[in-house]
Amino acid sequence: MDISLHTPITKETVRKLKAGDTVRITGIIYTARDAAHKRMLENKDKGFPIDIKDCTIYFAGPSPAKPGEPVGAIGPTTSYRMDKYSPEMIKYGETVMIGKGKRSAEVVEAMKKYGCVYIGAVGGAGALLASHVEECRTVAYEDLGAEAIYELKVKDFPGIVVIDSYGENLYETEPEKYRKD
């Protein structure tokens, strides 16, 4: 059974999630890729352009929306490019990251310490994931184009908890079960 999550997702909720849980997220999430992370953290003294406490960040840069549609295709980008920035984001209050691919030990440490979860969305399923986005508006860094920060209103956005806030990591445990030497 999928677990329904409603944003903002608090640390208490995050601590209840376990690697392998399938979730459906409803509410507000923000997109940010490396360029947006870099700019947010460089300018943090002036405040964040989003409400960072208990926020959900989706590592994604959509294709342009066609007229009459809220958003174009919007699947996750490879998360390791955000590894440099995520520990600090987590420290400032980010509780959920959505992306694809492995994370560094530093990121996992920060997730354990502050309470944050890493959710995998199906990479390359851009059209399918777009069908769970109801509204999209640019919040900051419009000049970055696809790399700007977008606020997405999502409904039942699907994902799998890949690394939980205790450091359990499906990328480490699951392939081993199917390996045949």
Binding site: P64, K102, R179
Partner: protein
């Protein structure tokens, strides 16, 4: 001699960009179905079904299959009896890319200066164009948009001749294992063997154009392809790296003569959204 007007090229390249990005080729869809049959992991089965559904939604809504509509790689095979009128072939191809990515609502992912400013060119140009002069009077254009989640996982190895066939297979497997979940597995793997440093990479890219399910006509390469596929699907990586048997949908190898002192191997990792559309003018 055949005369082809630049406007014909522009129009065709534009349409190829949109088609390649929105309609998944049937060979890959078949490979998803095949994977679904052989898969042991329930998570992997769900993911493969998601990918089938994703391709259907994209085609129906004329939406990109994946938001990373890539950097446009173009293969142009020009018959030596073709005359292009109205402007240069390169300009026509780039204009076609510009229009395809703009009018087709595709993502513009190209930056001018790779190191410092990284300012977006805003129209996804320039394309990377590989020209090949052929006999005859036709112009074949293939547009193969390539995402960078998988491109970043690609590698070149300058092996020693003594590393032999096992050396080749081992470095392909190593590349696949290191890529893990990052290139959106199930992957498609292009391998270029021989030539020199840059030519092996070109061959690896070209190998990705081969339909999934079609082996090399050279028996020794066919054997290598089969062994790569078999061993890759025993790694356990699985769809999205979350475990399973469907790690690689296809492996294709291309070769070329090389120098007595070397054996270059390039591995171009691609994803389940390996795109290419072609036309012959």
């Amino acid at each position: 001699m055949k005369i082809i007007n630049k406007d014909t090229i522009i129009e065709n390249v534009k349409n190829l960009c949109i088609k390649a990005n929105c309609v998944l080729n049937s060979d890959i869809k078949r490979a998803f179905e095949e994977g679904l049959k052989n898969e042991e992991s329930p998570t992997a089965k769900t993911i493969l079904s998601n990918l089938i559904e994703n391709a259907d939604i994209a085609e129906k809504r004329n939406m990109p299959i994946c938001q990373d509509t890539g950097m446009a790689v173009v293969f142009a095979d020009i018959g030596q009896e073709v005359y292009i009128e109205g402007g240069s072939l390169s300009d026509a191809i780039n204009e076609g890319i510009r229009r395809g990515y703009t009018e087709g609502f595709l993502r513009k992912s190209v930056v001018y200066d790779p190191v410092c400013d990284r300012k977006n060119t805003k129209d996804n140009t320039p394309a990377i164009i590989h020209y090949n002069i052929t006999e005859g009077d036709s112009l074949k254009i293939t547009v193969a948009p390539k995402g960078f989640g998988s491109e970043n996982m690609s590698r070149i190895y300058m092996l020693k001749p003594s590393d032999g066939r096992d050396g080749v297979i081992d470095c392909v497997l190593k590349t696949i294992e290191e890529a893990g979940p990052n290139p959106c597995p199930p992957m498609i793997v292009g391998v270029g063997i021989g030539g020199n440093f840059e030519y092996s990479a070109y061959l690896a890219k070209k190998a990705l154009l081969r339909p999934v399910g079609k082996n090399s006509e050279k028996p020794y390469l066919e054997k290598i392809e089969k062994e790569i596929l078999e061993r890759a699907n025993k790694t356990g990586i699985g769809p999205q790296g979350l475990g399973g048997r469907t790690t690689v949908l296809w492996a294709a190898c291309e070769d070329y003569p090389t120098h007595i002192a070397g054996m270059p191997i390039a591995i171009n990792i691609s994803c389940h959204v390996t795109r290419h559309s072609e036309c012959i003018l």
